[in-house]
């Protein structure tokens, strides 16, 4: 009897151990951090100011909502990120939990000085995930990016993530850049990281309160803007427009975008480009002067034609295809030129060279950023216009043709 009782009690003790709650922190003791921003601290003895966008669960779920802001921003400064985290933690009643950080925003000012030290923390900490997205706040303090109330979703960080996802799927050239992508970029020889830019446009002052979304037109809007490119870990510039598009295409991250061809005055054809595929190969028999061969394949659908083009004829489409290819080639050239200007091979040509000639690569790897600028780049583009969407000729082209016929 006693033996049974002892066994029973003992198994009860082991049951307690099974919960393994030595480390547990209950949900209501945690403050879920959804976004982090890192700024340069202005005072002399500190290095970083880190702000944490913390989700206020009560405001999200609605039941116990007091109608306050759904997220709160806490900041702390320190000589290292961890010290800044500690200083910020003292302002929060709960344990700052970094496992759900979706976005990390670094200010442009800090990025120009180098981000290696930051990246080490982001990579090393076991609470952080490698899948957090990185952004560079363009010309603004990074903190401002996190203090905007957004329209869709109550958590601004998630809103930014969704904006990035939608722009990467259509119309934009920004793409997901996660912690490990940046580290690989910094590590690669003669190269650098590449990170999305982000800005708040509009009235920053009223963006931080709920007033921002009370009107039909939001007062301040958060949006992605350009690609920040680095030489090693230092920001050297931003790529917009053609350069940005070309760079994203070389990364094979341009999934779907718009493209316009101007054929003359009041004669514009707009395309939706999709199924873009880029391969970068190197011919590095002479590693001092590698030849980079880029071939791009893309498909297009005509979306808009404001001129008298007769789109029922295949040769008209052929001609448009040629123009599209040329334009793509120009964009890609612009991207390559920009990289050569910055002397930073963030485009990853080095990998192609290493794959082609591993032994030759060994000889040039330490001075790749100068060898890189000597690369000969050949670009081949193949475009196919698959369809002209729901109509063939434009209604304008009919009149245009009649005029042409009568005259």
């Amino acid at each position: 009897m006693l033996r049974k009782l002892t066994l029973f009690l003992l198994s009860g003790v082991f049951l307690l151990m099974l919960t393994s709650c030595w480390d547990s922190i209950e949900l209501n003791r945690r403050a879920i951090v959804s976004g982090m921003s890192i700024d340069k601290d202005l005072s002399k003895d500190q290095k970083y100011t880190v702000s944490f966008q913390v989700v206020v669960a009560d405001e999200i779920s609605g039941k116990n909502s007091r109608g306050n802001s759904p997220v709160v921003l806490y900041s702390g400064s320190g000589r290292s990120l961890y010290e800044a985290l500690g200083n910020a933690s003292r302002k929060v009643a709960r344990y700052l939990s970094l496992g759900h950080v979706r976005v990390i925003i670094i200010s442009e000012e800090l990025a120009r000085e180098g981000i290696s030290d930051i990246m080490d923390f982001l990579e090393r900490d076991s609470g952080m995930r490698l899948s957090s997205l990185l952004f560079i706040s363009r010309g603004q303090p990074a903190k401002d990016i996190l203090s905007i109330i957004t329209v869709f979703g109550k958590i601004p960080s998630s809103d930014l993530v969704q904006k990035l996802e939608t722009t990467s799927k259509g119309f934009g050239f920004n793409f997901k850049v996660e912690t490990d992508d940046v580290i690989r970029g910094i590590e690669a020889k003669g190269a650098g990281a590449i990170i999305n830019g982000v800005v708040v446009s509009g009235d920053q002052e009223s963006g931080g309160s709920k007033k921002n979304v009370e009107d039909i037109e939001p007062k301040a809007i958060l949006r992605t803007s350009g690609l920040a490119v680095f030489s090693k870990d230092k920001l050297v510039g931003f790529l917009d427009g053609a350069e940005g598009k070309g760079t994203s295409r070389l990364y094979n991250k341009l999934q779907q975008h718009d493209s316009i061809i101007e054929l003359g005055e009041d004669n514009v054809a707009a395309f939706n480009i999709f199924m873009v595929h880029t391969t970068v190969k190197a011919n590095a028999k002479d590693p001092e002067h590698p030849i980079i061969n880029i071939s791009i394949g893309q498909q297009a659908g005509l979306k808009e034609s404001s001129g008298p083009l007769d789109l029922t004829r295949a040769e008209v489409l052929r001609d448009l295809e040629k123009r599209l290819s040329e334009q793509t080639k120009e964009e890609t050239e612009a991207a390559v030129k920009a990289a050569m200007k910055f002397k930073s091979d963030y485009l990853g040509f080095s990998e192609a060279v290493e794959r082609d000639n591993p032994k030759g690569w060994k000889k040039v790897q330490d001075r790749w950023n100068t060898v890189f600028t000597r690369c000969e780049v050949n670009i081949k583009v193949k475009s196919v216009i698959r369809h002209t969407d729901m109509r063939t000729r434009s209604f304008q082209s009919k009149t245009g043709n009649k005029k042409g016929g009568s005259s």
Partner: protein, 366 residues
């Protein structure tokens, strides 16, 4: 050897889980950079050759563990000394694996739990299963093998569908030639985890079928080699070889990258489960091998020494290093300098002496 026997399938699953054990989780063969997966396969082949030697000894003495045929071959005193060395080595390796497991757990998830508590719970569960007997351990392994393989299947689906794998990170294959791979194999891969199969010489007498049984172990080793190599490929394609090289626990970082849209993500817990399962069987097999050795050497009943040995293993695991770094460093030295003595030198000596004796006794008939 008298006593219960272990079926072929169960022996297979025990061997497979033992081989996968910690090797699946720590970065194996990263001396060779992005060619780690090749060095694992080469290491596996070398391991199979080494195992052929053990199989030969097993054929000569099918119902004796290593500790007994060592005495048979080398004589009572020298043989006993060798057997004691092996028991010490098995216990030390069990302790090292216990430290591997508990240190990684503490580092990755249980930040504030004392390493002693994690280690004690783990060694106690091993002791419990071994108390039930080696054959229970083998049966347990079959159940956990299904669990481990389903985790592997989920991991594979996730890796393929998440789009995080970049195959070009594996190229150029053998860019620096074969030398780094060879160095990695000699320093580490043929011993870890394949040379460690030496402890199965203590368990092989339990095989229910000694003719087919010899083939079960190399089959499991081969499969384990392929699986470890595959995991290494996934790690390198997801993280890049440099990041894998800098991670003591790369699989956890890899799985934190994998996600199926918003729906399925943060499956880190699966990897932690894999860690616990793998480490459990690795410790249990070394621990069991040591127990069989002790009971055979000193004629003690097998169960008597379970708890004293558990204490020794637990404390050696805590005391042998101050930090994970020191521990891993020590492990590297053991693999390249000490373990080959046990897995190659002594077994080779045993084979030579055994043959010599047989030759002598055969040449003088009558």
């Amino acid at each position: 050897m008298r006593g219960p026997k272990i079926g072929l399938l169960q022996f297979f699953s025990l061997t497979l889980l033992f081989e996968l054990g910690t090797a699946l989780l720590v970065n194996v063969g990263m001396v060779s950079g992005r060619d780690a997966w090749i060095s694992i396969l080469v290491g596996c082949m070398a391991g199979l050759v080494i195992f052929a030697g053990y199989a030969y000894l097993y054929k000569l003495y099918p119902d004796m563990p290593l500790s007994r045929y060592a005495r048979e071959i080398l004589g009572k005193h020298l043989g006993a000394a060798v057997a004691i060395l092996y028991v010490v080595m098995f216990m030390n390796t069990a302790g090292r694996d216990l430290r591997d497991g508990s240190a990684l757990l503490v580092m990755a998830t249980l930040h504030r739990t004392p390493i002693l508590v994690v280690g004690a719970l783990m060694i106690l569960s091993c002791a419990y299963v071994l108390h039930k007997g080696i054959e229970v351990l083998a049966r347990t392994s079959l159940i956990f093998l299904f669990l481990a393989l389903s985790i592997g299947a989920i991991f594979t689906v996730l890796a393929l569908l998440s789009g995080e794998m970049e195959w070009k990170r594996l190229f150029p294959v053998l860019g620096d030639g074969f030398l780094p791979v060879a160095i990695s194999v000699v320093r580490q891969n043929y011993m870890f985890p394949f040379g460690e199969i030496i402890c199965f010489t203590m368990l092989m007498p339990y095989l229910s079928n000694d003719r087919k049984g010899v083939w079960v172990i190399p089959a499991a080793m081969l499969l384990a080699g392929l699986l470890i190599s595959y995991t290494s490929i996934v790690n390198i394609t997801v993280l890049g070889s440099d990041m894998v090289e800098r991670s003591p626990f790369p699989l956890l970082s890899t799985i934190s990258k994998l996600a199926l849209s918003e729906l399925i993500q943060r499956l880190d817990i699966l990897v932690v489960m894999l860690l616990i399962i793998g480490v459990f069987f690795k410790i249990a097999v070394f621990y069991g091998a040591a127990l069989v050795g002790i009971s055979d050497l000193f004629g003690l009943p097998y169960r008597t020494m379970i708890y004293p040995s558990a204490l020794i293993i637990l404390f050696s695991s805590i005391l042998n290093a101050r930090s994970l770094t020191e521990h891993l460093d020590e492990g590297g030295q053991l693999l390249s300098d000490v373990l080959p003595f046990f897995t190659i030198v002594i077994p080779t000596a045993l084979i030579i002496v055994a043959n010599f004796r047989r030759y002598r006794s055969a040449s003088r008939p009558g």
